[in-house]
Symmetry: C2
Subunit: 427 residues, 2 copies
């Protein structure tokens, strides 16, 4: 099952989505990535992603081309109620179809409007006009339902661009269908194992591992995926039999661990964060934070998953020097003598925070995120991170780069990495 | 100048990048978006983005196809030192070229290794082997330089996938070249104005505006770009003359503001955050936060830009109930009687935080982010946000959905929107 993913929208094509959704540095259009991941997980092969603008001609051309190589084309976007949303009309043209009123969709629209106490305008009512040849995929989370067409052995799926709606329709309708089709076929499926490493750069890791052709067979692959949290090694294998594939994956995993085991901190869907919070839970320890330049990003990371209240208690955002003194008792003499970005202040922040908040560990971060505020001695990107526990306080200096957002991200990753190192050596 | 953007890498195609870089909910592969935006800004037209896996065959096929319709193909990724990076070798095949040692690149590699006290291994040295026909684009931020080829009136640019390196090479080499080529051509360029609205859904906004064909001419367009912070209206115009285009854009902007002006809070590169922090600076006010379910995301948002220390002082992460009481004095009776997610507790958090932190405003957020912890009376997605100033405290209840990450994002967006509403009505 070869899948092509097609994202539709001027705003995505010309990158306006960066300004729109990422203005708090958080949410970006992740539909294509999510779809790619979901399809790979069920054993389909993602041939490609494409993004095109809101243009009828471009969409018609793209569908024609993609249908030559793909067994299934998954489209997202262009189903909204305004004039620049053209996907539905274009599909009507492509399939030489016509629009019919769908009562179920209309009733859903009416119920939604009633619930919110809003009048149902014509624009919204028009969303119940749907192509006669399509299977309608219910969308309880929004107004535009998904659509599924089949023609000349190609499946065409059209989904709304709102991520929660897209994911809902995929999980409830599309993925189950694709999974059963794939199972009916007798071909090979891809299987993956992932090994997570930290503390070693990609090229040094590759040197330790050696050339993959010496230990991989045909239909087996090894990918190096670097990130701020370390390099992930993804072993891939194409096989018709799941248990045989799993056995071989374990064999290769063992072989790699023999070579680079000291750098391995997790496997599969683990992340540095999940492994670290897992250790906190396992050891029954609590944690708090005192953040300056990251101003909440570390606290937000620790509470990303539900259930974090068992280990994360809270913390202080001591962005101003006055609050560093007032809230966690950093001495004014340290602030004057060494500056807010210093070993001494980082240590006092962690120790002070731990005392006030009464947790097993407290992590502090203080740094010059940039782009302003650097000096010769402490250039932009200089960050001190400290961890205090009952016995000691450890502080480390990092030198990141000139980008504010990246410096804040890397600070969070390194803080979690430092906590991991402490926890893994804990008795 | 028609541009095609081509992102290369198995990990992007199969969506693994979600797990890799987004594990703290922050950084995702934004190269394609950034490139699309940068190329649009200089007046080029982005035909499409494509993403393909690390496959020599797929890349050769893609380059052949894209060169039929694009004047310039910008590739990113696949230039790393490991065996799964295949872009350079594939380009050598595509252009029927050969690799030569580039001394400048080798010296850069040696200098970088010396600076870090690392040995220079063969894998890294190989990055100085470059195709003889390409123009080498220096990459002072990393090991793999960019490459530029020209063949049959098509420009091919190959860039490393690391975002900071890619942006550096684009800004220093590629964008200036493309800009001068575009200026040499006599054709029309695209110009944009953007109007930012909040507090009105997309379809109601479209109703107020009416059908665009009644006020837009040929070569003019209007796009609706919804996000958690509101709907942005992007007016586009293709024109040969910049000042005439700007005049006409202002005319259309005025016409739209006449129709929907009450919902407009900004223009162009403004964001709800930048407009709100602009008001804080203009009014000389300071702010602090007391966060529970968002646990730092609001503080992180307020400090996203350099210079935020003029208005943002700090805050409390009161994730546990005990800390809500200890740090900002929320009464245990309110916690018992109304629960942590209630009007009363939100108000006490904001008032208490403001008193302790001594700021003009203090914003609190307390909610059930999910997926666990909901009840019939307070389902997952129930969030209370309060703002305290010297005169009063305002609290508002929100009902978001079932997704933890989205609920936290929307809480931050709504908190900033509430602060904007208070500041805009301030004397």
């Amino acid at each position: 099952m070869n899948i092509a993913i097609l994202t539709i929208g001027d705003e995505i094509c010309i990158g306006q989505i960066i300004n729109t959704n990422a203005s708090f540095g958080q949410i970006i259009n992740t539909n294509a990535s999510w779809l790619g991941h979901a399809c790979t997980e069920i054993g389909a092969q993602v041939l490609r992603h494409s993004t095109i603008g809101d243009s009828t001609e471009a969409l018609l051309k793209e569908l024609k081309e993609l249908s030559q190589e793909a067994d299934c084309i998954i489209m997202s976007g262009g189903l909204g109620p305004t004039h620049d949303d053209k996907t539905k009309e274009t599909l009507v043209t492509y399939f030489n179809d016509e629009l019919l009123l769908d009562e179920t969709t209309l009733n859903n629209l009416k119920a939604r409007a009633r619930l919110r106490g809003l009048p149902l305008n014509q624009r919204n009512m028009d969303q119940a006009l749907l192509p006669s040849q399509c299977t309608i995929l219910a969308n309880p989370r929004g107004t535009a339902p998904g659509m599924l067409f089949e023609k000349d052995d190609v499946i065409y799926v059209s989904l709304p661009g709102v991520p929660s709606e897209l994911k809902g329709i995929m999980n409830e309708h599309v993925l189950p269908l694709l999974r059963s089709r794939i199972e009916r076929e007798s071909g090979k499926k891809p299987f993956f194992h992932t090994i997570l490493t930290k503390g070693i750069p990609e090229s040094a890791l590759a040197d330790l591992i050696g050339e993959p052709e010496y230990f991989l067979r045909e239909n087996e692959s090894l990918a190096f995926l670097p990130s701020y949290q370390g390099v992930r090694l993804r072993i891939g294998i194409m096989h018709q039999d799941k248990s045989e594939a799993e056995m071989r994956l374990k064999e290769i995993q063992q072989l790699l661990c023999d070579k680079v085991g000291t750098y391995v901190f997790g496997f599969g869907n683990d992340s540095l964060l999940s492994v670290t919070t897992g250790l906190l839970k396992q050891q029954g320890k609590t944690i708090s934070v005192v953040e300056s330049c990251t101003s909440g990003l570390l606290g937000a990371a620790f509470t990303q998953e539900s259930g974090s209240s068992s280990y994360f208690m809270g913390g202080f955002l001591t962005y101003s020097n006055a609050l560093k003194n007032q809230l966690v008792g950093v001495s004014n003499s340290s602030l004057d003598q060494y500056g807010a970005v210093s070993k001494e202040v980082a240590e006092e922040m962690a120790k002070g925070g731990r005392t006030v908040l009464n947790t097993d560990f407290c992590i502090s971060i203080t740094g010059i995120a940039g782009p302003d505020g650097g000096s010769e001695e402490k250039p932009v990107g200089t960050v001190w991170i400290a961890i205090a526990d009952a016995k000691q306080v450890i502080a480390k200096r990092f030198s990141f780069g000139g980008d504010r957002a990246i410096n804040r991200e890397r600070s969070v990753a390194q803080a979690i990495g430092m906590l991991y190192d402490v926890l893994i050596h804990n008795d």
